[in-house]
Amino acid sequence: MSVYSGPRTTSPASVDLLQDRVLLMATDPAEVAEIDPRHGGLVVAGAQAAGTVRSLRDAFPAMPLLIEPESASSYQATQDNPFLLSADDGLWPLTLRDMLDGQRQNGASLVVTPSGQVAAGDTPALKALINQANQVDDPDVLTLVPVAGIWLTPTHIRHLVAILKSSVHPVLLGVVNSDADPLSRQGALEGYARLAAEVPGLVAWRTDLSGLGALAHGAFAAVIGRRPSQRRYARLDKGPFASNLADKSPHVLMPGLMRYSRALWMRTEWFATAPSLTCLCTHCSGRDLDRFDASTSGHASAYLHNLAALNHLVGECLSSVSRRQWWADQMREAKSAHLELGNLINRQVPEPTYLERWLALSSV
């Protein structure tokens, strides 16, 4: 079990609230009632996040609820202005404390700094971000650090670890990349695991199943996006990444394969001539995994499946004797499952490269 042990020694309430939780990030969290109250929570993103949290607070008084500032999706941090501090009336600029107070007033359980994206190699901006957040001595502050993917590569990772270790608050680490999976870059996944292991109080933020990998390697908590666009940050100059713009079917979590796949892809590429894989999660109860269509109800149903499947994985991870061993087992079994799927449909199913990389890192 990872226990936050960063420089701060006076934040037990907020740390206790977040530790060993995997939160869902969403803009329209229709399935909030399905979030596991024992080790879940919700981060609301988007322009309406504050209002959404305010409206949810009364209905879910014990639920960890966070607001993601829009800055991380719209603003580039600079040395002079690492945070996006908008003026409320156009006359008086807000301070960082004002911005954080606003989140508290809207019912957020913990408050997230309105950080901008840190560009490749922009050490002055990154240090300014950490240092200015450190000046706010409230125990419920979480320092959001959205960094360009190249920061995770072998050249820069040691520097990044050292800077993040200087934070007195837990660090919410998001990764920016518009071209591909941010961790697919050479050495980036290994850097991600190193951050989880070496930075006390690290939260894997806006991530996918790699959040569980981070948790297994020592991260304090994880925040997994409901939609693919909420599992990373898009570059400000490039916009979001989409592998197939024509396919509007939902991304479906396949826990046996430890991957997400679009339902239409499954139907056309894997299960056109073979029976679909089925799912035993609390939502699916043995139904086919490729049944979700591109309709609103299809997406909603897929999200419920994803959440149920994720809840199951999180429960297993947190109750395992060794999270790292559990994660290695998941990777190993997922690799085998790809082979079995290939045999079932009589064609090779390439496995995601992260399975082998995580396995190599995690084998005890």
Binding site: A120, G121, G149, I150, A162
Partner: protein, 357 residues
Amino acid sequence: MRRWYWLLGCGTFVDMDNGSAGLMLATVRVARGLTQSALAKEAGVSQATVSKVESGVMSLPDAQWDRLAEVLDAPSGLLSQPVGFAGPPATAFHRKRASLPVSVSTQLRARLDLVHLQLAGLVGDRVPVEISRDPLDDDGYTSPEEVAQRVRSALRIAPGPIGDLIAVIEAAGVVVVDADLGSVKVDALMSWPPGGRPVVLFGEHAPGDRQRFSLAHELGHAVMHEVPTAAQESEADRFAAELLMPRADITGSLGDVSMAALARLKRVWGVSMAALLRRARDLDQISDYQYRQGSIELSRAGYRTREPVEVAVGRPRLLGDCLAAEMAAGVTVEDLAAAAWMTEPSFRATYLQGELR
């Protein structure tokens, strides 16, 4: 207990308590590219004698010292100098290819030791050292790029490309010496002894763009490194990249990495197209895939061995200016040679014909 000193430049141990003058003999011998056997044969002594003298376990009569000095084209007084007389030993860093033979590397380090000795007499304190050491911390909190930014700031370098890099670093008190390094596999080497000044020897064979990057790389070693580390070469490269292509100034220009665009940028920034392409990747302006494609294109066009767009080769001036000032003040060549611990013919050939040879 006896103290033994590992002579970096010569690959031998010297007994510090018993005739450490042998260290100087070893340094001069290696700088001249001679083995102990070759020197012994020329000087009419046995190889065992040279070995024992260098190790400090045997001394020689004056006549034999003079003969060794003659063979080595050195003033005999130089060979009898004790360890430390030219300043504490310093680690030498060099930008080289992996295939550089160890013997060449060893010879170059010994040559650099002698150049330090010569410059101590020729430049002395007349030119102040304006840069400071800024070693990287153990935990990685400071990056080589930050150190490069601080150096730019300390040397009051304006934003954007650096025009005459040699002039900039000579103004900081770093002596740059262009030399025939005996191999095209080494571009430059540098050391900065405690209490002394940084000295860079750089090969005259390299094109201007590579020369500039090598000099910046060596300056990075001078400022950041006092002892060798596993990451030192990568760190010096990162320092050089930031010094010559500051992130804040160049990022907006690196979106287009076509060959034509790289050639245009090379003209502006005075660095190779390959270095610009890599900088574009390191600053996240292009993807890994684009970088690989660009590298393939550079190779296919033959630019790995010879790039288009000539960048002017820089020439050092600091040492020449010092010598000219001394001679204008009436100091003779004989005096200058003596100050540099060189024979007069050797001094003339080395420093009065424009280049160190």
